[in-house]
Amino acid sequence: MDVDKLWIVNEAIQSALQTPYHVIFEGLLVIWILRLIFSKPHKIPDKEEKLTAKEKKELVDLWKPEPLAPPVEKTLAETRPYRLVNGQVGKNIVINGHKCKNFASLNFLGLVGNKRVDDKIEKCIQNYGVGTCGPRTFYGTFDIHLELEKKLAEFMGAEEAVIYSYGFATVLSAIPAYAKKGDIIFADEAVSFAVQKGLQGSRSKVVYFKHNDMDDLEDKLKQQEKMDKKDPKKAAVVRKFMVVEGIYMNSGQICDLPKLVEFKYKYKVRLFVEESLSFGVLGKHGRGVTEHFNIPISKVDLVIACMENSLASGGGFTCGRHYVAGSQRLSAVGYVFSVSLPPLLAGAALEGLKISEENPEIFARLRQKASFFQNLLKGIKGIKLVGYPESPCFHLRRLHPVTPEKDLEFLHDVVDKCEKNGICITVATRTKAEVLSEWPASIRIAVSVQMSEKCLKEAAKVICHAVKEAFAEQRKS
């Protein structure tokens, strides 16, 4: 055996020596391969050449940033100055020196200046001071917060309520606590600015459907269903939500909750309802849009509302089942990283809830006065009234709009004239940062249950007169 092997090697060496160029070439090839294997990776040079320090300094010197804010004169020329209120924003208000009846603030139940609420606030300040000096996790949870959460949950008929310290921040934090990047949210295009920011903050894909158009929503839900069927693996981890408002701030219309609940179960989409304007307004006991349509609140995944309107206090809350609402205490940014609601505002809200419970007829009275006032204003020539018939918050728009700037000027003119004659109303303020920036200009009227019928009739007269005068002036100019 060994001899055979030796003979083969001998043969190989002999043949190699006969063709030296072959050996040399193959040898060089092997060396080249070894070099490639063991050499360091070759760095691809940057497409741009590095700049020298001198060149960098020149670029820095040349760069001129835009000013941080436009010059004062420009800002003041483009915007109207704030109206100044002396004293309380209650039923009667002194605005820019004029004594007026207040039809502009969302004080629906007339709780601003209520004696019981004021006494409760005094007691709270004497007990707790003004601020809580800490977020909920770190000694900012007061017994009054826990009491208010329990009372709210009881009032709404939900399992759990979570309080936030600012109405605007409530919906801004509640939506991103559940909807994350990669999820899909179907939102009404008329949702208020705070909801839009909440949607933006969630980083989910947002699909807007036409305002209150259930057919358009169903189309979009069906489209999504088709896409889900094509990719079932992805669909199994992508959560879907619908965000609507009970009464829309931007249009005063009511949402079609029964249809929405039907879609929820048909297309497996969770439902969030923002009830800032319908809490304390709709329903036999003021529980909002769920009570109005007789739908158990457990069917809605999360109800988000603020206590700054009907309860005339501060802050906001969300309520729902334990499974849904409980997780906000750890994942909602506005709850965890923010100082809790001042106890005096929590006390005011508590007292407001107690007063509403003791006088449940107040909500029906509010709605009746609202529709009475709406009927008085419907007849004004040249003005279109937009809003759900029983909503105490509705909009007046120009029937035949001209241009956005002229319409806005016209409406401001109406507001000024009403103010001089003792009725305070306001133009609905907007910024250009809204998703729907072409929203028509409007006056937003808010009716308080404190207003008597006589008062409402007089107010309607003043507004009608102001509109006539404003039209006359525009025709002249």
Binding site: C133, Y139, G140, L146, F168, A194, G201, V339, L344, C424
Partner: protein, 518 residues
């Protein structure tokens, strides 16, 4: 007293002491800028990781037992009608909550039933079933010394001038405003507060908002947009991060208080412009905080200002924790460094910590404030500040800026911060942050000690704040003491004794150099 700590990377620690101002503005080096971040000791880091590993293993076992119904499931479950829906929570998301946070829930969310002053009354709770169920025992722990609330100047009071003024205002104005500033929510008391705050800070104008968190998240989008660059400190607060995100600008994070990293990013920003197109940025905004509450560090303001001037950027300074607490007259971190407030473009702050109220403000030159009045999302859509809260701020401001009492409060706070910090260092705790900061974070590292520390201190009559992951890096759990001008010298002494006792029990004297107390 400059140490020789090198920049070590133990776990996630930094380990830098610097005396002076990193070579910038040597003429402002009037104070020795002392900041300590002692690196994590190796044995603590190893034990911490081991601790988390054990918790995770047990967590998996318990989850499995709950899945197969061996252990009773106490957590709320989804509505059975909705079982076909895509699950609301990813199964791993709440793993930490279920298995770690739940067990030490008794040190968080402690309900308080008194004013959050130097002492508080805590409602006692009893937890069972590993933290799943709780009940109130009916007892109230009275007069627990409060080392956890943000009550820097001691204005969390329920009697005295502030309280009386707030009550009078509440009776006159009520609590709610029900309207935004741009509509009819602009009351005379708001204008008065804005003017007073502007005078106090010595700037042209000021605008106030109802919530500190909303101040950041609704105003940063008004100042910058898609074609701007934001350079944000690595440890900025969640509200600043949200504000930056909502603005749509490009965000680049620089290492905490690291002037070299900031300069590099500024230079790259100006020189190379926007990514891909290389068009110049419209504006560059640097966002920093005055005092960082988790680290106890103070921003290197002279350094940042020097860079800002060199590269023509704008500076947004969030003084949530430093207004009222730093500086001889409580004017914040600008006064602390001897810099005039007009050098900072946007001075933002909150009224929650030093003024015992709620809300936020932005101050600066008139062009900026008028722009925000017209375009701020908060001024346009959000309700204005409640009048009694405004009054509380007005009264406390008048005390801070004009009276002997105010000066005494500021002095007492500075004294308390120094005494407490030195005391803790003598005991052997690793204390993070700047010597002058009213926030005193000390390290406990191990997850088991988080719950234990909170409980031990409560037993001895002290309310403290313990923080772990995810608010801090996973290895660096800490106890965060908040100093207050309301705490007397004896209360501080008692606190130090208790801290020493607990350090002995829990073996928290990690500091390698006990002589750091001089």
């Amino acid at each position: 007293m400059s140490g020789d700590f090198k920049l070590e990377k133990n776990g996630n620690a930094n380990g830098k002491i610097f005396n002076g101002l990193n070579g910038h503005q040597p003429d402002l080096d009037k104070k020795a800028f002392q900041e300590n971040f002692e690196p994590t000791p190796l044995h603590a880091a190893i034990l911490t990781y081991l601790g988390y590993a054990i918790i995770t293993v047990f967590g998996f076992i318990r989850d499995l037992m709950r899945k197969y119904h061996i252990e009773k499931l106490h957590a709320a479950t989804e509505d059975p009608e909705m079982k076909d829906f895509v699950p609301l929570y990813a199964s791993f998301e709440s793993f930490y909550t279920r298995n770690m946070y739940n067990r030490i829930q008794d040190v968080f969310n402690r309900p308080v039933c008194s004013v959050p002053g130097a002492t508080i009354d805590i409602v006692e709770r009893k937890f069972s079933n590993s933290g799943w169920t709780s009940e109130y025992t009916g007892k109230v722990l009275k007069n627990v010394i409060n080392l956890g609330s943000y009550n820097y100047l001691g204005f969390a009071e329920n009697e005295g001038t502030c309280t009386e003024a707030a009550i009078v205002t509440a009776k006159k104005y009520g609590a709610g405003v029900c309207s935004s500033r741009q509509e009819i929510g602009n009351q005379d008391i708001h204008m008065k507060l804005e003017q007073t705050m502007a005078d106090y800070l010595d700037v042209e104008a000021c605008i106030i908002f109802g919530m500190g968190y909303a101040t950041n998240s609704t105003n940063i989008p008004c100042l910058v947009d898609k074609s701007c660059l934001i350079l944000s400190d690595g440890l900025n607060h969640a509200s600043l991060v949200l504000g930056c995100r909502l603005s749509g600008a490009t965000i680049r994070v620089f290492k905490h208080n690291d002037m070299e990293d900031l300069e590099r990013k500024l230079s790259d920003g100006v020189v190379y412009g926007q990514p891909r197109t290389h068009r110049p940025w419209k504006k560059i905004l640097i966002i920093v905080e005055g005092v960082y509450s988790m680290e106890g560090s103070i921003v290197n303001l002279p350094g940042v200002l020097a860079l800002k001037k060199k590269y023509k950027a704008y500076l947004y300074l969030d003084e949530a924790h430093s207004i009222g607490a730093l500086g001889d007259h409580g004017r914040g971190v600008t006064e602390y460094f001897g810099i005039h407030a007009s050098e900072v473009d946007i001075m933002m702050g909150t009224f929650t910590k030093s003024f015992g109220a709620a809300g936020g403000y932005i101050a600066g030159n008139r062009a900026l404030v008028e722009h925000l009045r017209a375009h701020s999302h908060s001024a346009c859509y959000a309700t204005s500040m409640s009048p009694p809260v405004c009054q509380q701020i007005l009264t406390s401001l008048s005390i801070i800026s004009g009276t002997e009492e105010g000066r005494n409060r500021i002095k007492q706070l500075a004294k308390n911060s120094k005494t407490f910090r030195q005391g803790l260092k003598k005991i052997g705790y690793i204390v993070y942050g700047n010597d002058d900061s009213p926030v005193v974070p000390t390290m406990i590292y191990l997850p088991c000690k988080i719950g234990a520390y909170g409980r031990e201190m409560l037993q001895r009559g002290f309310a403290v704040v313990v923080v772990g992951f995810p608010a801090t890096p996973i290895v660096e759990s800490r106890v965060r003491f908040c100093m207050s001008a309301a705490l007397t010298d004896e209360q501080i002494e008692k606190a130090l004794k208790a801290a020493e006792d607990v350090a002995r029990v829990l073996k928290l004297d990690y500091s390698a150099d006990k002589s750091l107390s001089c």
